[in-house]
């Protein structure tokens, strides 16, 4: 995809899909260092979403 293409904005939808359906991730197991899946899964999405936004920035900063 070319730098500056409007299609990069579609990346903004990925975190919505990943986090707005608690039925997918509302479980205690698997735990990570004692933290239930429900919690570490969402904390993981903080990082994924930040990376996606950084990619959008790199691709769209001159728009």
């Amino acid at each position: 995809m070319k730098k500056g293409s409007k299609w990069w904005y579609v990346l903004a939808l990925i975190p919505l899909i990943g986090t707005l359906f608690p039925s997918f991730y509302s479980s205690v197991t698997p735990t990570l260092w004692g933290v239930p899946f429900f919690y570490w899964y969402q904390m993981m999405w903080v990082i994924i979403s930040a990376i996606l936004t950084a990619i959008m920035y790199a691709a769209l900063k001159n728009n």
């Binding site: 990346l11 919505l16 004692g34 990082i47 930040a50």
Partner: protein, 503 residues
């Protein structure tokens, strides 16, 4: 009375008070001009914008209200995490357009934009009033946060809170937006230190995360109604709609837009959308303090006291005092920005639009300074008028109102298809329906069970009201276009939304 904590608290509080007054000299300019007092001259770069917008978004809501909900009800409180996950990518796309058009036309508020875009003074007034009213409960939430830490140190009653707010009012009056911007830097350093220490020390004392979660689950099970350690199926819809609704509402709040408008370029905003998630990680950790309080055996009826009591129990007094100062300053910064934003709205879109059309920038600044004082009194009234079990509902109530401005502001940034009168009708229906839904719960909860086609949908009233709002707006746009009702004039042009000034 906890003297050690109190002394440390007062030292840091005095430090930021001095900073608040010194801020008037920072990047010296004529503070008797509204763009200087209320937007700091639109000159903030990436770093200051990061602190300022961070100070806007991560407030007493984060440090007191979110852990309080975790402490009282369990997993539901964690909705604040997906809320702050989805905000930034969405607004990465939207806010640069707003910044550009505002810079080009000298807009200070969202209502300025609405009036320019739709040529409709009534719609602009509706947006301005909504912004001001929605801000009151949010400032009240900051007051609750301060009250919680003051009470934990043994300072009960109203007078310490009033003193703190008088100090805040005075330096906001003299320094304008420069004061919270400068204080936000100190606030964040203190918050990050507190969070890092908390995430290391408390789990060590409480035998690790595994034990914290199992002890918290056991404690939640004894609550009435029982709290849930992870989301249960009946919570899925409220959880998701609260996260989505809060995210969409956030940058419609006047204070968030003030932070955005004070930045110096489109690129500063985009860069910030990529950098602000650093706070979201801290937010997730702070939310879990609610569970740590449960695991530490903190018992209190006032859920807002959960985190302060946890600090007192697990930290030495001096560090608890430091943490309390961090929380209290974390409430002052947004309260200052909120009152500035609300007074910008009043000055531009009520005073100038209706009472003194030829007001000079100096005159505007004078009125704005005065109104910033009134707004704080309004917040005090709100806190006395609507006692809530969970302080977090104050933020959610503001969200119901401010969400109803979404069609005009956000759709308006992209299209002029929607009719100005239809937007006004949609707004009115949305506000009334939203307040009605909140009222059916006895003004206690913002979750409303909608019954459609024999199915029950429990969710955030703000989202339900917004859906109705959009439906009404679309239907009446079609009707008004059919009867060719006047469209008003558009003062903006398509290119205004994507300009980056060369400077």
């Amino acid at each position: 009375m906890n003297w050690t904590a109190l002394v440390i608290f007062i030292i840091f509080f005095l430090l930021v008070t001095v900073l608040g007054f010194v801020a008037a000299r920072w990047r010296k300019a004529d503070l008797n001009h509204l763009e200087e007092w209320g937007l700091a001259g639109r000159k903030f770069g990436t770093l200051i914008t990061w602190f300022l917008v961070g100070g806007d978004l991560y407030t007493a809501y984060t440090f007191i209200a979110v852990p309080a909900l975790m402490y009282g009800a369990g997993a539901l409180g964690f909705y604040a995490v997906p809320y702050t996950i989805i905000i930034y990518p969405i607004f990465f796309a939207i806010l640069p357009r707003f910044w550009s058009v505002a810079k080009k036309h000298g807009y200070v508020t969202a209502s300025d934009f609405i009036e320019g875009r739709f040529g409709d003074k009534t719609l602009a007034l509706a947006i301005a009033v909504t912004g001001i009213v929605a801000t009151m409960p949010y400032i009240a939430l900051q007051l609750t946060g301060m009250q919680a830490v003051l009470a934990a140190m043994g300072l009960g009653g109203d007078w310490p809170l009033i003193i703190a707010f008088v100090i805040l009012a005075l330096y906001t009056y003299t320094s304008g937006l420069r004061a919270p911007a400068m204080i936000a830097v100190v606030k964040d350093l203190m918050i990050y230190i507190t969070v890092i220490v908390a995430i290391i020390v408390i789990p060590m004392k409480l035998h690790g995360f595994g034990h914290i979660f199992s002890a918290a689950s056991a404690a939640l099970a004894t609550h009435t109604p029982p709290g849930a350690p992870v989301a249960t199926p009946s919570m899925y819809a409220p959880y998701a709609t609260l996260a989505l609704g809060s995210a969409l509402a956030l940058f419609l709040y006047p204070h968030s837009l003030t932070g955005i408008l004070s930045s110096s370029s489109r690129r500063v905003i985009k860069r910030n959308m990529a950098l602000l998630p650093a706070y979201s990680f801290a937010l997730g950790i702070i939310a879990l303090l609610g569970f740590m309080a449960l695991a530490a055996g903190i018992v209190t009826k006032n859920t807002s006291a959960a985190v302060p009591l946890l600090f007192l129990k697990e930290f030495p007094s001096w560090f608890a005092g430091f943490g309390f100062a961090a929380i209290a300053i974390g409430a002052l910064v947004p309260a200052a920005i909120m009152s500035i934003a609300a007074s910008n709205l009043f000055t531009r879109n009520i005073y100038k639009a209706y009472f003194n059309k030829s007001a000079s920038p100096q005159n505007e600044a004078k009125v704005a300074k005065f109104v910033s004082l009134i707004v704080k009194v309004g917040a005090l009234v709100f806190i006395l008028g609507f006692p809530q079990q969970y302080a977090i509902s104050m933020q959610q109530v503001g969200g119901i109102l401010v969400l109803q401005t979404l069609p005009a502001i956000i759709f308006g940034l992209y299209t002029r298809w929607f009719h100005r009168r239809a937007l006004l009708l949609g707004w009115a229906v949305g506000i009334l329906y939203g307040i009605y839904m909140w009222g059916t719960t006895g003004y206690k909860s913002t979750t409303y069970a909608l019954h459609i086609f024999g199915q029950t949908w429990a969710g955030y009233a703000g989202i339900w009201a917004l859906i109705v709002n959009v439906l009404v707006t679309v239907v009446f746009t079609l009707i008004f276009q059919a009867v060719k009702l006047g469209q008003g004039t558009d003062a903006t042009s398509a290119s205004d939304y994507s300009i980056e000034p060369s400077a």
